[in-house]
Amino acid sequence: MKKGKSETILVVISGLLWIAMVALAGAGHWFAGLFALLGLLLVYGVLGSSHKGQFDLKLVAFPSLIWILMWAAAFLVGNHYAQAFEGREPEFTVFGFHPSFAAIVVLFWLVPTLLMGFGFEAVKDRWLSRERWDEFLKGAHEDEKARDEGDSS
């Protein structure tokens, strides 16, 4: 039996998502493959939030899930306008960009980057509190000391 049943289930799901993502892209459905990628990111986000086998879903919800949703919106809006103005000039621009690319600039790049950058700083204590880090250092050093004593005796 594998250690951490929930982690194992998530890792198996991640493997299936890898296969789905690459198979979709390889079959020519690259746009659908992008959404499989988003699912994969969510799984890694949940796995990364694990603390002693417990997932911190609040930490996943903000900022990672909001970022992933923004990327989904960027792909959908970007693709919508790419198809709407296919082979011709767009009827309008956003900040001077093709509306399709404007979705990428705003929802894929700038806003999510700010969200993730400042969001990570905002959840810093939840992600790794000083107490948790000190507890780790203490435990690791005690373990090392016990080994050293065991070796010398």
Partner: protein, 501 residues
């Protein structure tokens, strides 16, 4: 362009080289132990590490190749440059676990982390070393080529001599100060890139008047002068959609396991500063992204309006800088040099670590720390010289290999550092099997690409998806599947504690 202008541009680039050398020599004082030389010193703050990480990730390909691709194929490659949130995500997901491992025992290289997590499994370390070495060779040769091309636009100098001079200085300071000098020089070089980015972003608006005129110029000029179709300015650019997919996927999943990112996390003095580090890394990355977009768009606008002629996409950055005049040139040329130097010094150090520590360790050979430093210095020198020779002999092929480096490194590191740190059920046998699959798939993928390139084969990857996507997927899926069918390893209690953080 007059001679004095050319020499002023040269002087600005030489200044970057001289300051980098000075920092490297000064940093030698900070190398107080062999571990510090190899990257085991946890003494740097978030700004230094953030700038160094951005500079090492933003290779010459980003500053020269990306604007060229924007000019020739539109927005597709910008998806790669704009995936900055992936940077933060990587730190969020594995940053504290990796940094915690650096507190256990002597951890100075990626091989040391692999040893801790997989109980000193020699096979994993061997294949990791081999794949990292292949990735280093690909990256280094591409940087040499970029340095050689840098002054080709200004002077009729011998490309080999240019690369020998630049790399001799780089090798000297890297050999003297190891990773300590590496991170400090990279931070300085990151600052140079950011400065150039700000200058270029402003220059772009001054020249074009904004993004709308660029869009209009494509429509008005037609295909003749810029080779762009209207699709180039959409979200996905004018390349097949498979590239848009690959260039979103690769940086997002690949950035969190790139050696440039992983090794720098271990050098941060306090893991609680990782959010600040990520903020610095992504904000400077955004400026670099804005710069390469501005250069690419400027090139489109200038070519479409008949103001410059660009005969090769890789020359777009220099042609735009030349059009903008001396003020832009004295920032752009040093920025290209800084990007090449920062990536090269990182990969030289990495190659030195592999040859002196990880590879001998994988064969059960141990050297004392002083011997390791000596062997590392020799290895860095040999690797640098070999990269110059390879770049000179191979011509354009190195540019192709440079783009392969990112995928190769990701395939090598993802099973160990992402799956391995997120899942206690990842077994050493499972990861070993995944690594063997990754190595075979990489050799096969590169082989097929080279056969295609030299017209010995005509193989098309399914859906037109770049080969390295399949390599990464193979490595990950085989690792997971093989781990499921093999028995869990007995983990060191401290490693479990680090993974539980």
């Amino acid at each position: 362009m007059s001679d004095w202008e050319k020499y002023l541009i040269l002087a600005s680039s030489v200044a970057v080289l001289a300051i980098s050398f000075g920092i490297g020599v000064w940093a030698q004082k900070k190398v107080t132990s062999p571990e510090a030389f190899f990257g085991g010193a946890k003494i740097f703050g978030p700004l230094t590490v953030g700038l160094a990480t951005m500079a090492a990730v933003g290779s010459a390909f980003a500053v020269v190749g990306v604007p060229g691709l924007v000019y020739s194929t539109g927005n597709t490659i910008l998806l790669f440059m704009f995936a900055a949130p992936g940077f933060v995500f990587g730190y969020l997901v594995i940053g504290k676990k990796l940094r915690a491992l650096a507190e256990i025992g002597t951890v100075a290289s990626l091989g040391d982390v692999s040893d801790l997590r997989f109980n000193g499994h020699r096979g994993i370390k061997l294949i990791l070393s081999l794949m990292l070495f292949i990735g280093c060779a690909m990256y280094l040769s591409a940087q040499v080529e970029a340095c050689a091309k840098l002054f080709e636009n200004l002077f009729d100098w011998n490309k080999l001599i240019i690369s020998v001079v630049i790399f001799a200085i780089l090798i000297t300071y890297t050999v003297l100060s190891g990773e300590i000098g590496g991170i400090l020089t990279q931070a300085f070089q990151g600052f140079v890139i950011v400065l150039a980015g700000l200058v270029f972003a402003i220059a772009f608006f001054a020249v074009t008047g904004g993004f709308e005129p660029v869009l209009a110029s494509i429509s008005e000029a037609g295909n003749g002068s810029t080779n762009l179709d209207p699709a180039a300015m959409t979200a996905w650019g004018s390349l097949p959609g498979a590239f848009a997919f690959a260039w979103v996927m690769l940086p997002t999943l690949g950035i969190m396991c790139q050696p440039q990112v992983l090794t720098r996390i271990m050098m941060l003095r306090n893991p609680r500063e990782l959010p600040k580090l990520s903020l610095y890394a992504v904000s400077t990355n955004v400026i670099t992204g804005a710069m390469v977009m501005a250069i690419g768009y400027c090139a489109i606008y200038l070519a479409a309006n008949g103001l410059v002629e660009i005969d090769h996409p890789d020359k777009a950055v220099f042609k735009v800088a030349d059009y903008l005049g001396l003020f832009a040139q004295v920032f752009v040329y040093p920025a290209v040099l800084a990007a090449a130097l920062s990536t090269s010094s990182l990969f030289l150090s990495l190659a030195g670590n592999i040859v002196s520590r990880d590879l001998p360790g994988s064969f059960g050979v141990t050297m004392n720390p002083a011997q390791q430093v000596t062997v590392s210095r020799i290895a860095m020198s040999v690797m640098g010289i070999a990269a110059i020779g390879f770049a000179a002999a191979s011509g354009d092929m190195v540019a192709i290999l440079g783009t392969y480096g990112f995928g190769t490194l990701a395939a090598a590191t993802f099973p160990i550092f992402i799956i391995g740190l997120l899942w206690k059920g990842a077994t050493s046998k499972g990861v070993m099997t995944g690594m063997v699959a990754a190595l075979l798939a990489t050799v096969g993928g590169v082989g097929i690409e080279l056969l295609n390139r030299f017209d010995h084969a005509d193989f098309t990857w399914p859906g037109g998806v770049p080969w390295y996507v399949f390599v990464m997927a193979t490595a990950v899926v085989v690792t997971i599947a093989a781990s499921l069918f093999t028995t869990d390893d007995e983990l060191d209690r401290r490693v479990e504690m680090a993974m539980d953080l």
